[in-house]
Amino acid sequence: MARTQRIDAIVVGGGPAGSAMGWSLAKRGINVAIVERAVFPREKVCGDFVEPAGLRIIETMGCTQALDLGKRLPITRNRVYYEARLPYHGEIPYYDGAHGMPPHGYIIPRDQLDTVLLQNAEDAGATVFRGTSAKALEREGGANILTAKQGKEELRIEAPVVVGADGVQSMVAKAKDLRRTDRRHIGASQRVYLDNLDIEEGEATIWFDEDQIPGYGWMFPMNGGRANMGIGLLTETCDRFDMSVQQCFRDAVERLRFRHPGCRNARVASKPLGGAVHMYGGVTRNHFAGGILVGDAGSFVDPMTGEGITQGMESSILGARSVAAALEAGQFGQDQFASFEHDFRAYFDPAMRYLVLLAQLLRNRHFHESVFTATRKGFEKAQVESSFGEISGTSFGGLNVQPLAMTGQLLWSLADHFLRGGAAALTDALRGRGFTANGAVEDLLAWQRGWRASTADDLPWHMSWLGDIAKAAGELGPSFLMDENPRLRGPFAFVEGTS
């Protein structure tokens, strides 16, 4: 029958967030066990892109060598397609190597990344139960009792603290009634590995298609003509417009072959896999009596890009402090873990709240024309104006998010565009040249078409969307008040600086 083990903390899930949590706790001398359903290496639906901030954490955890990072292809450049247009092609403007981050990202397939990170946690002193699926979580007399199955054997682990790092379908979140189901903040993706590519060194490609808004596609190259390619879409939109992620994905593969010269002969080298992410816009309470939620289980995913590897590890490093504090105090009530809420809000809110607002603005598919044109023009502007790329470009994945500066840039660009266009049209009209079509007027009319379509299609939804925008805008306080995005210096510096 079941044997019961008593330890300090259980981490459910051994992905990057779970491993980072296990490593952080073990380093603090805490008796921690990671329960992972799979036996690594295993495949995971992901873009595999680890941004500089993530690499900085990996380096701190000492996994650079094990991951052979030196031999991987550094991603420093980007290509952005809008349908067949190429509005941006060049260096990724905000990868500048500051704050101890490398000036590039890496593509590390998740089977390799997760294996190494989990091993690293084990090496640091964490107990790892591989191939063990958590079945039930109960709370008895102030302790968490996790029942798990390892093969046919039943396992009982008892610990005062449990950390849910078990992803979108989090069993821990479900047990604590914290599972998020709000489709406004859930992304769906599908990815595949391609080979037979001929890609310029270290150049990622992303693309937008007007029929796949809100969402985007990616192709992240690795050595040997291989790449991770996939698309992500908002599930709410898929539901409302009967969009099939699979169909969009198939279209995307075809379009990539057509639009990217280096992908003409691309071959699908793996089975396409689909998955989901919970984005930060839907974040709610992430702590409960006896533990916390981190990573995807806690909705720590960038609402604009869908990136979650780095954010997952960051949330764990922040959360480890709360776990350690609880163990030290011997208090495990919900209030005890509220310090995690405080920490992650202070750390993530400033940038994330702003990105949530942007994501909300882009959420209405009826405005596909306007959204498409506006973001395309943003990339075009970034191509010729490096400061625009450095500041406003961070809405697509940079760390140094500066909401005030970004808002200024965006509003100024919009005003400039419409005032110039309006003046030009007026001049034409006054000089008797009649009306000549002009970008600003056309853009205004495209917006109008979007507005009409949206209000006519589903007015209550439209109104609730406006309410969401207003709400997101109303939560911008921390964004506008911050001096510097705390994420810029990383979670370790944050924990150190605030302890």
Partner: protein, 700 residues
């Protein structure tokens, strides 16, 4: 005791008849019936519910209860179901009790029609953007649109019904009333206020605005604005002020009420196994020791009354009948009176209602250019409205000829209680607007264009419309009184719902609430919920904060308009010459001098109540879904941008056609208009014609 022994043989007799008459009745039915609800109640058997009153509220309650698995008997006094939404067949022609407006925001009604009956709104109803008015001796119909879009607002300004300044004031008075926070239980003495009194208390109100509000209330609810509860009408305005959602004013049924609404409902009820007893006059409802309703009714032609005790009862009858049932003045009947269990219901006797006489005029010819819309005959005695059903109902009923429904909303003004005499008086009044009807000498006069065989006049004394009197809110019955009356619930447009004004929506919602109350009581007694939870559909409306913000925003425009009206009055007096010019000037100076202090006071009060609602967080009407201020503001900004884009040459949205409107001297439109229109013309010359039309219908 005596009632029970009498009951049994009667019941057996009636049961014996029923299965023969209705094939669809399942076999098990007589069995459960025989066991008797009151005598040997089996916990598993469905409780029996008596619904008294086969109007819209009663039918809704019956339907919802049947869906939840109750056994329902529906009692209707007349041979047809429908009550105030019924039609009578006279000489094979259907005559609706009176024409009804089905407003777009009737969420519960549309849910009943679309979800429960599974019918498509567009197949059975036509959307109308507004309503029309006609002045005597004029050919020009004035189209008043539902102000739910900027286009409609501008079109209304141009319509010529009132001067734009007066229209601004009329609109503002509506927003002001909607923004006024009345206490939620209607008990504050100071707030027992009528609409006219409310206007009187406002610094901006003018005589024309007061007259127009009175006219609108009389036309639609047969009630003077000096009698209408301001709070109740304010609540109606909160539901109907939906700018800028582009919703139409109302929908008109494309058939008689019986064919289009009652028959489908009846069919659905029968399909669900409802036992429907028409021509059954319920004479008394008393309560047994377990508070079960004991019904006593007389079937048509039956010599003796029948009686039966039900598990639950729903009373869905008009106020006068309800008061009689509740008071139950009959002596010699067993059981407790309802009033003894719930003394508050004595107030039912205070409720009032009015009859709306209606004349259906079938003609021998087709009237040309008659609009397909409800037409208010402005300035007519008896408050007449006209509606041409031949363009609305199936064409085969009319043989290419016209048929007008003439309703007298101010029926008590007709100096006759003889139907045909009253009809002649209404016809004479109608002739002031439509000379075709001049010189009709008597009912049946062959030298007229009227097809007398098909025409029909009724005074509708049995189909009175509930009046929303000042102060009536606290007298109106609730859906249920779980303490005193655990087995009895109430339905009908007179009941308290979050649609306060007497409407079909109120009827449907009250029916739903009554059914839900029965379900809740049953669950409380058996400890087990029966069927899916019965729930009403919440209305989406702006929050009080939003209305108060709108009021503050419009306040400067209102007082500017008020000044304009004063100036106009002065000009008119001066132009008419005579010796009153000096007096008029004095009045003007007075009026204008008072504008700043009045506006300042109202601004201060408005700002305070806005602040209060921000602080108190919109506490009212928990049953409604509120649209918050920020979403509303973004929505309005978006619509203004949309409108501006149209002026710059974008896709013009069809503002529903209006007749008049050349001399547009609008305060609002001119600013946005002139430059935009000039520009738009140029642009139109250059290119573009877009044909996508906006759908009227609002999805839920």
């Amino acid at each position: 005791m005596s009632t029970k022994t009498k009951v049994k043989p009667k019941k057996a007799a009636s049961k014996a008849k029923r299965p023969a008459a209705k094939k669809s009745a399942p076999k098990s039915k007589p069995k459960t019936a025989k066991s008797g609800a009151a005598t040997a109640r089996n916990a598993l058997a469905a409780p029996e519910v008596a619904v008294v009153g086969g109007g819209l509220a009663g039918m809704t309650a019956a339907l919802k209860l049947l869906q939840a698995g109750f056994k329902v008997t529906l009692f209707e006094r007349y041979d047809r179901l429908g009550g105030n939404t019924s039609s009578q067949a006279v000489n094979g022609v259907e005559h609706d009790v009176y024409p009804h407006m089905f407003c777009d925001w009737y969420a519960n009604f549309w849910s009943l029609f679309e979800q429960d009956l599974g019918l498509k709104r567009e197949d059975h109803f036509v959307a109308h953007p507004g309503s029309m008015m006609l002045a005597p001796g004029s050919d020009d119909y004035v189209n008043m649109l539902n102000p739910t879009s900027l286009e409609a607002v501008v079109a209304n300004m141009k319509s010529g019904s009132m001067s734009p300044a007066e229209l601004v004031l009329l609109g503002y008075s509506g927003v002001d009333l909607a923004a006024q926070g009345f206490d939620s239980d209607g008990l504050n003495q100071m707030e027992k206020l009528d609409v006219n009194g409310f206007l009187y208390s406002r610094g901006y109100a003018t005589e024309a605005v007061a007259e127009m509000q009175n006219y609108l209330l009389t036309l639609v609810w047969s009630i003077d604005s000096a009698k209408t509860s301001a709070r109740t009408y304010g609540n109606f305005l909160q539901h109907s002020l939906r700018f800028p959602d582009h919703s139409p004013f109302d929908w008109l049924l494309k058939n008689s009420l019986n064919a289009g609404l009652v028959e489908p409902l009846r069919a659905k009820l029968e399909e669900l196994g409802c036992s429907i007893r028409t021509n059954a006059d319920v004479q008394s409802v008393r309560l047994d020791d377990d508070q079960r309703p004991m019904l006593r009714w007389q079937a048509d032609g039956a010599k003796r009354t029948s009686a039966k005790t039900f598990d639950f009862g729903v009373l869905a009858v008009p106020s006068a009948v309800l008061a009689d049932i509740v008071m139950c003045r009959k002596a010699g009947i067993g059981g407790k009176r309802i009033i003894d269990c719930e003394p508050e219901l004595a107030n039912l006797r205070r409720l009032s209602s009015a009859a709306i006489p209606v004349l259906d005029l079938y003609l021998k010819e087709k009237l040309d250019d008659f609009p397909i819309d409800s037409i208010g005959l402005a300035g007519s005695n008896y408050g007449l409205t006209a509606l041409d059903i031949s363009q609305l109902w199936p064409a085969e009923l009319f043989d290419g000829k016209s048929a007008l429904i003439i309703a007298a909303s101010d029926g008590d003004a007709i100096p006759s209680e003889n139907p045909h005499e009253a009809a002649m008086l209404m016809l004479a009044e109608l002739a002031r607007f439509y000379p075709q009807f001049e010189g009709v000498k008597h009912w049946g006069d062959p030298d007229s264009i009227i097809d007398w065989d098909k025409s029909h006049m009724r005074l509708n004394l049995d189909y009175k419309l509930f009046l929303d009197d000042t102060g009536s809110w606290s007298w109106r019955p609730r859906a249920s009184y779980p303490e005193g009356l655990p087995r009895l619930t109430f339905a009908g447009d007179l009941c308290r719902t979050d649609v306060e004004m007497a409407t079909m929506e109120g009827a449907v919602q009250s029916g739903t609430l009554a059914a839900a109350a029965v379900q809740a009581q049953d669950a409380a007694q058996t400890g087990k919920a029966r069927g899916n939870p019965i729930e009403d559909v919440p209305h989406r409306l702006y929050s009080p904060t939003t209305f108060r913000a709108a009021k503050l925003l419009l306040l400067p425009a209102a007082y500017a308009a008020y000044s304009l009206v004063a100036l106009k009055r002065y000009r008119a007096a001066k132009a008419s010459g005579g010796d009153h010019a000096g007096e008029a000037l004095a009045t003007l100076i007075e009026d204008l001098a008072l504008v700043p202090p009045k506006a300042a006071t109202e601004l201060g009060q408005g700002a305070y109540s806005f602040y209060r609602s921000l602080v108190d967080r919109d506490e009212e009407d928990p049953g409604d879904e509120k649209i918050g201020l920020s979403a509303a503001a973004l929505m309005v900004l978006g619509e203004i941008a949309d409108y501006a884009a149209s002026q710059v040459g974008g896709e013009k949205r069809a503002a529903p056609e209006t007749a008049a409107g050349q001399a547009f001297e609008g305060v609002l439109g001119q600013i946005a208009g002139i430059a935009g229109r000039a520009y738009g013309t140029m642009r139109a010359a250059a290119d573009q014609s877009c044909s996508t039309k906006r759908r009227w219908r609002v999805k839920r």
